[in-house]
Every structure is written in C-alpha cells, then in structure tokens.
C-alpha cells in the first residue's frame, strides 16, 4: 500500500473518517506515522479547550483564594488542594466511575430531561477533568502572581483614581499575567502532556478513536517493538511543545511590550510535571 493511500485511509481515523479497520499486519512506517499523527488531533483538542476554559476558572479561583472572606477563600483553597494533591490518573478514574453511575436515561431537572450519556465519553468527561485540573494548577500560579503584584503599582493606581473593576482590569490583572506567564507556559506544556493519560484511565476509546499514545500503544502491542511507535509520539510531542513555546513566547512579548528590552523576562522552560 502506498503512503498516499495510508494518508487517505488513516489521516482522520481518530475522528472516525476513513478506513474502519486499523492496520492488522505488515505495518509500514508511513501507516504508523499517519495514524499516530491522526491521534494527535485529540491531544490538541483536549489541550486547547481545557486550557481556554481553565484560564477563566483559574483567574476566578486565584481571586477567590486571595479574597478576605472565608466563604470565598476556603472553597478555593480546597478546590486547589484536592486537584493538585491527588494524581490526575485517579481523578480520571473517579470521574469516569461517577459519570457511569448517573442514571442512564437522563436526569429530570425543572421539567427538562438532561442527557447524561455523553459524560461517559472521553471527549466530554475527560475534558471536564482536565479543565478542572488545569484550573487548579493555574489558579495556584495566578494566586502566587497576584500576591507579588508590586505594591507601588497598586498605590499608583489608587493615586490616579482607579477603583474596583477598572483597577483590576487595567492594573492588577495585566501585572498578574505578566508575572505568572513563564510558569503558566510550563503549565500549558504539562497539560498537553497530561492529555495522553485520557485513554489509559477508564475512559474507553469508542470505535478505536483514540489519541496519539493510544495508537502508539496499539502498534507496540501488535509488533512487540517499542522502538518505532514511541519515538514517533515523542517527536510529535516535541514539535507540539515547540509550537506552544513559540505561541506563549509571542504572548509574553506582547504582555511585556511596554518594558525596556533589557528588563523583559524570558520564559525559562522547565521539565514537565506529571499530575
């Protein structure tokens, strides 16, 4: 089978488009590269959506943890502790078992029947877990940044008559982001790496639509040769990481565009963290 044929058959296999059966024997390098690449679509899907929604919740959680009122502070602290203190792997299992136990034919809510079946699917269930998890980790990062916003900046804002939402939007929040950005970049990279856990943690890959590591594991199991599929995943993820660093580096330059060149903080990339 030619390589073009493989691309046609398997490039979108992870979405259910193309050949129904996965290759069974005589695996070519091309098939492995194409199918694993197709699985990467899911990693990007989980990463991008969890990160975007997580960003909003993380800001809220950070503000909650920094709040004076214990009614806001305590729940935020517990949320961060539970999601940062336990393994993501266990969180996936727990969420899946909880979603499975929901009534099969939906919940009656105010006369409307809410479907629950989709929650046990990876695209929704795992996304919820990843979203909450990254919100907790980023929330802690933002909280740390919020506490290190320079006092002088806030006093200057007060002196210029900034108050409430206006002060937060124009002064506190941008400074918080600026301070948190290098750590947040690392968190984004970790999150993309964490997406590989989804199909190994309870959530079944329906009709063999899985992520990059799911297909790599499939090939490694079939060929009993780990030296081809896993390095392919590794290369894909290194490329993905480089794209992320470029994207976040651009955002970092934009956040710091008012500072003199020499004072700009460069992003230091640190090794990843498992959750």
């Amino acid at each position: 089978m030619s390589c073009a044929q493989s691309i046609q058959d398997y490039a979108l296999r992870s979405l259910g488009i193309g050949e129904r059966l996965l290759p069974r024997n005589d695996f070519t390098l091309c098939e492995q590269v194409v199918l694993i690449g197709s699985g990467l679509i899911w990693n990007v899907y989980f990463g991008v959506l969890a990160l975007s929604f997580g960003f909003l919740l993380a800001t809220a959680v950070a503000l909650g943890k920094a709040a004076d009122s214990p009614w806001l502070r305590k729940p935020s602290e517990w949320f961060i502790f539970v999601f940062r203190g336990s393994p993501l792997f266990i969180q996936f299992f727990l969420a899946y078992e909880a979603f499975v136990l929901l009534p099969r034919n939906g919940i009656e809510l105010l006369g409307i029947t809410a479907e629950t079946g989709w929650l046990t699917r990876a695209w929704a269930g795992a996304l919820i877990v990843l979203f909450l998890n990254t919100a907790a980790y980023s929330g802690e990062i933002f909280y740390g940044a919020l506490r290190s916003v320079p006092k002088g900046d806030l006093e200057a804002a007060d002196a210029y008559g900034f108050t409430g939402w206006h002060k937060f939007r124009k002064i506190t929040w941008p400074t918080m982001l600026r301070l948190a950005w290098p750590a947040y970049t690392n968190e984004a990279i970790f999150l993309f790496h964490a997406t590989t856990l989804v199909y190994f943690s309870g959530f079944p890959a329906w009709q063999q639509k899985g992520d990059a590591l799911y297909y790599a594991n499939y090939f490694a199991d079939k060929t009993f040769n780990p030296f081809v599929p896993y390095p392919i995943v590794a290369v894909y993820f290194i490329l993905l990481t480089l794209c992320l660093i470029a994207l976040f580096g651009w955002a970092n330059r934009r956040l710091n565009r008012h500072l003199p060149q020499t004072q700009r903080r460069r992003i230091r990339f640190r090794p990843q963290v498992i959750r």
């Binding site: 502790f81 203190g85 266990i90 299992f93 079939k222 009993f224 030296f227 896993y230 290194i238 990843q272």
Partner: protein, 294 residues
C-alpha cells in the same frame, strides 16, 4: 478470617461490612498500598543517585560524558513521561533478554525479530518460564522501579545541576585558593552546600513522584488501582459478598489516601527545609538564626 465470617449470607449491616473488608482479597488490597509505598521508598534514592550521576556527567570535562549527561537531562523535556513508562518497560525487558541471549546461546542463528515476534532462546527468557509466580511479580516490580528511576533520575539531574550552579562561585574559588584539587572542591565545598538550593526542586519532584505512582497500574503491577477496579466492580450472587458497582467508593478512598500522602509530605518537607537552612547564607537561614537568638 474471623470465625463469624464463615457464612457471609447470614450476616447483615456492620457485621457484613466488617467481614467484607477483611476477606482475603481485601488483605491483598491493603498489601498493595505497601507496594506503592515501597516503590516510593526504593525509587526515591535510586532516582536521586541516577540524577546525581547525570548532573555530574553533564558538567564533566570529558566531552562524550558531558554530552551523555546533557542528552539524558534534555531527553525527558518535551515528551510526556507516560510515553517513557510504556517504552522503557518493553525496551528494558527486551534489552535484558537480548543480552542474556547473546551470552547464553552463542550458537543461535535465527534472527531475533521475526515479523512481529521477539524470539530469544528458552534459557535467555526473563524470568525463566519455570520460575515461580513470585519471581515473575518481583521481576515486573523491578522493571517498574528501574523505569521510574530512569525517568525521575533525569528530572533530578536537572534539579541537581541547577543547584550546583547556584552555589556561589566564590565558595569554590576560596577552596581553590587554599590549594584544593578539583575533586576536593567538588566533594568538600560544592556537594555539601548544594542541597539547600536543590531542596525546593527535589520536594517538587517528590510530590510528582507520589502522584506518578498510580501509573504502576499501566506497567502491569498489581497495585492499588488494579485492586480498586477489581474489588469495586459489581459482584453477582455467585460471589461470597455480592454488591453493586462500588468502584466510585474505592477510587474515592484512593483519592483520600493520596491527599493524605501529599499533606504529610508537605509537612515533612517543610521541616527538612527549615533544618537545612540552619547556618546557610540565605534569607531563610538568617531568619532561623534570628529566631534562635531571640
């Protein structure tokens, strides 16, 4: 286990629960917590040793050794660790078998990879197919420990080489001014002083290691995740203790176990940090000195 538990059908309520939670499979479940803790206890020092070796290699004056050290620390960046976990377990297993094959069966003329099979002679199999069950389990656990140590060793190498760079240069220069050799300044000046700089990174690493232990399940070890799935699944009436799907409660238990482990680690690490700051030329050390003086 208990006399009263011989016929579970006659029991109800708390007595049933007490018997259920002490049956043979649950004892194995509790034992698997020890598996996780022993993995932590063995992996942490081994990974630290690997990391130290990697960090020393990365700053070696011999170029190939330095390249090896730098490649080792760099290679885990950018790639999800779970890829390494899945990769190393098969790769190490095949590597060991291949080495033994070379030594034990020199007369073997067939290729080792035949299509999708990996074939070595029977004497080179690891563990031997005739060995008892505990050898197989022990070998699986050993492979898992080695895999964890390799991956976390790379992280530790990164932390330790950062810590070695953080030790003030003047300290080493003073040692050199007193006529110490390169080796002496390394062991007597650099190594004793680097730990306080390494500790924040190492504590972080410990937390990550704790949270990585459920991945043992993926490496085929019968750990707590395995037992939680096994015991929690719905049991029909042919079992001694029938019950519906309780996996949610088992995983909730695991969650609490890990939260507790995290909390205890946080407290202990804070203590160690405080202790190590004693007499150091850092802000924390200064604060401690003032507290002691007051």
């Amino acid at each position: 286990m208990f006399q009263a538990c011989t016929d579970p059908d006659t029991l109800d309520g708390l007595a049933w629960l007490a018997c259920y939670l002490t049956n043979g499979k649950h004892i194995a479940f509790y034992g698997s917590f020890l598996t996780v803790l022993s993995l932590l206890a063995i992996t942490a020092p081994v990974a630290l040793a690997f990391g130290f070796g990697g960090a020393v290699a990365a700053r070696s004056r011999i170029a190939p050794l330095r390249w090896f050290g730098q490649a080792y620390t760099a290679i885990v960046r950018g790639v999800p660790d779970i890829v390494f976990f899945l990769f190393f377990v098969i790769a190490l297993d095949q590597g060991f078998e291949w080495l033994r094959h070379k030594v034990k069966c020199p007369g073997w003329d067939q290729p080792i990879r035949q299509g999708s099979d990996f074939i070595v002679c029977a004497e080179a199999k690891l563990p031997l197919s005739s060995s008892p069950q505990w050898v197989h389990e022990g070998y699986g656990f050993g492979l898992a420990v080695l895999t964890f140590a390799i991956v976390f060793g790379a992280f530790a190498a990164n932390v330790l080489s950062g810590a070695m760079r953080a030790v003030p240069r003047a300290q080493v220069e003073t040692g050199e001014a007193y006529g110490m050799t390169h080796r002496q300044t390394f062991w007597r000046i650099l190594v004793p002083q680097m730990w306080v700089y390494a500790l924040p990174g190492l504590s972080n690493l410990w937390m990550i290691l704790v949270k990585a232990t459920p991945l043992l399940f993926l490496l085929g070890v019968e750990d707590i995740v395995y037992w939680a799935r096994e015991l929690g699944g719905a049991k029909t009436n042919i079992y001694a203790y029938p019950h519906p799907d309780w996996r949610l409660w088992y995983f909730l238990g695991l969650l609490v176990f890990y939260l507790g482990l995290t909390k205890v680690s946080e407290i202990v690490l804070a203590r160690i940090n405080d202790r190590l700051s004693l007499g150091q030329a850092t802000a924390a050390g200064e604060a401690r000195r003032r507290r002691a003086a007051a």
